[in-house]
């Protein structure tokens, strides 16, 4: 059964147990990603965005673990309870990742072509696609798709600039036309010009292949440019979610407003931080799950805060 929703996340919680108490990095969040949609997940660093992505990808590092919730792929497969080997089949073919660190996401001792190829080799079932020639053609095609020159095929990662590396990352992620690509801060550590190029590449790919993207980041401008919908995360909770224009134009939750106020200018390169700790505390005690959401506009929901 195919649904309109590529991925549905229900009541996902991630906990970090310590002997004394348990810390929840992701706290009972729910959202869904529609087919062909780019969903932006925005928040300060430490708000749990990346942890959520890791939970979905089952890449949580110990001692972190999923405390509860479900992740449905295409409305038919529950990812979190899937046996390891079955989940491994779904990795990359259905669920790919564009990694956060632009500089470090490629293995320095492998040529670009081999790093693209090994993902294909691990999941491609059609033997005809695995011949040397077919692979070569496919990789060239992928590189062209993300706007990289042919020579990239042969080189080692250190011979590429940051933007080129990130485009290799995108090419790698879409190699098997997955249902969903999780792009974890794909443009951090890149300069503004390169950011635009990478962002544009993501858009192109989405348009061309119809792949859904979960875009994680703290750059509101970039979100505005790319995302169809956004969800705002704060302290492990999603406090507001809705169509990007709607949320940005009329933010309903006070935290979202603070976030937008503290947005750095386009040319400044610094992480998104809300400095007003006192203001943050003011609504913190409303963040007791289960949160109650109010729909302020069609598709625009906000957590109750007073």
């Amino acid at each position: 059964m195919t649904t309109d929703q590529v991925m549905t996340i229900q009541n996902l919680s991630v906990e970090y147990p310590t002997p004394e108490r348990t810390v929840f990095a992701v706290n009972d969040i729910s959202f869904e990603i529609k087919r062909g949609e780019i969903l932006g997940l925005i928040g300060e660093s430490g708000s749990g965005k990346t942890t959520a992505a890791n939970a979905i990808l089952r890449l949580l590092e110990r001692p972190g673990r999923v405390a509860g919730g479900q992740v449905w792929l295409n409305g038919e497969t529950e990812l979190l309870s899937l046996p390891e080997h079955e989940f491994r089949q779904l990795r990359w073919s259905e669920l790919a990742l564009v990694s956060q660190g632009a500089m470090n996401s490629l293995n320095p001792t492998m040529r670009v072509r081999d790093q693209i190829a090994d993902g294909i080799r691990a999941h491609e079932t059609n033997p005809a696609a695995l011949t040397k020639r077919a692979l070569q053609a496919r990789i060239h095609e992928l590189l062209t798709m993300v706007g990289l020159p042919d020579r990239v095929y042969r080189v080692y990662p250190h011979e590429l600039s940051g933007g080129m590396k990130q485009r290799v990352g995108i090419a790698m992620a879409v190699a098997l036309s997955p249902a969903l690509v999780i792009a974890d801060e794909p443009t951090s550590a890149l300069d503004v010009i390169t950011q635009r190029v990478v962002a544009q590449t993501l858009l192109d790919i989405r348009d061309r292949l119809g792949i859904s993207v979960l875009l994680i980041g703290h750059d509101i401008a970039l979100m505005a440019q790319l995302a169809d919908r956004i969800a705002v995360m704060y302290d492990g909770h999603i406090v507001e979610a809705g169509p990007v224009t709607e949320v940005l134009k009329s933010p309903a939750h006070p935290y979202t407003r603070m976030l937008m106020d503290s947005m750095p200018s386009l040319l400044e390169r610094k992480p998104l931080v809300v400095v007003d700790e006192a203001a943050k505390l003011e609504f913190s005690h409303y963040l007791k799950p289960p949160l109650r959401f109010v729909e302020v506009a069609p598709g625009h929901r906000v957590a109750q805060f007073d």
Binding site: W92, S99, N104, P108, D118, A122
Partner: protein, 338 residues
Amino acid sequence: MGGLTIRYLMRRIGIYLFTVFASATLVFLIARATPGDPVESRWRQIEMDQGQIPEIEAIIARYKTRFGLDDPLSVQYVKYLGNTARFDFGYSFSQFPTPVWRLIRRALPWSLGLSVTTLLISFFVGNTVGAIFAWERTPRFIKSIIPSTLIFTSVPSVLAALFLLYVFAMLLRWFPLAGAYSRDVQPGWNWPFILDVIKYGTLPVLSILIVNVGWTVLGMRAMLVTIAGEDYVRLAEAKGLNPFYTLYRYKVRNALLPQLTGLALSLSGLIAGQVLVETIFAYPGMGLLIFQGIRSQDYPVIQATSYMLILLTATSVLLIDLLYPLIDPRITHDGGQA
């Protein structure tokens, strides 16, 4: 390949030559820094075995002239540099009239055999165990066994050697007590001889290996743990690759590079450090030659053996520097980064 230019090559070789020259000079000076007169002491020592030697003063004077020890230090130094550059090390003081190169030619193959075997085994075994140790998928019960083996790292190799000797050569009589091969075989490239050499070499190799392999294990583990935090390893996991393939191609492959450097650099240290093991097994290697040379202030032997070790180390370093960009694409010849 990483921008290997003629200019870089020339510069690197220049550094190499300077290193060798400076080290050789230091060795020359250090050898002469000890109190005592090698010729006089040597003959006094002979007297200890053989009773008083008549006319010993004349003999000592004659030998000093023969060995050029009457010359001023500067003259000796210049001669030494010239001769060493031509690999002419002269005669051994303590085993006159044997040319030093003959001593080295006899000892070096045994030492190299011992060290290279040890290093290779320790490299493969150590890195494999280290990788198993660090891999998150290794079953717990295996992991709980591995650290126990590291105890052996803590045993001084002398004691390891004595223990092995005692258990395997004396009590069990599985291996011979001493020497490099038995008197029943004909040295050469024939199977009986080769098997014999392996049999005689087993205990010496083991006693060095026991101590050596633990360090490799720990080094590998530390490297792998660092690498496991890299983004590309996380990405490899996300790709759903075969875990073995990820371990090998993404982690071990990158962790091996520093290990490889260590391997090449430890060779000469290992050769020089085998004195004790060679003494215990009466193995005719370089360690013993060096030690006896130092003991008897045999300048030509000290200089020649040191020079060989210097060449070995310096050449390893040179080769690593030249070849490193081939194995680690991150490093380039022009100063470290692309």
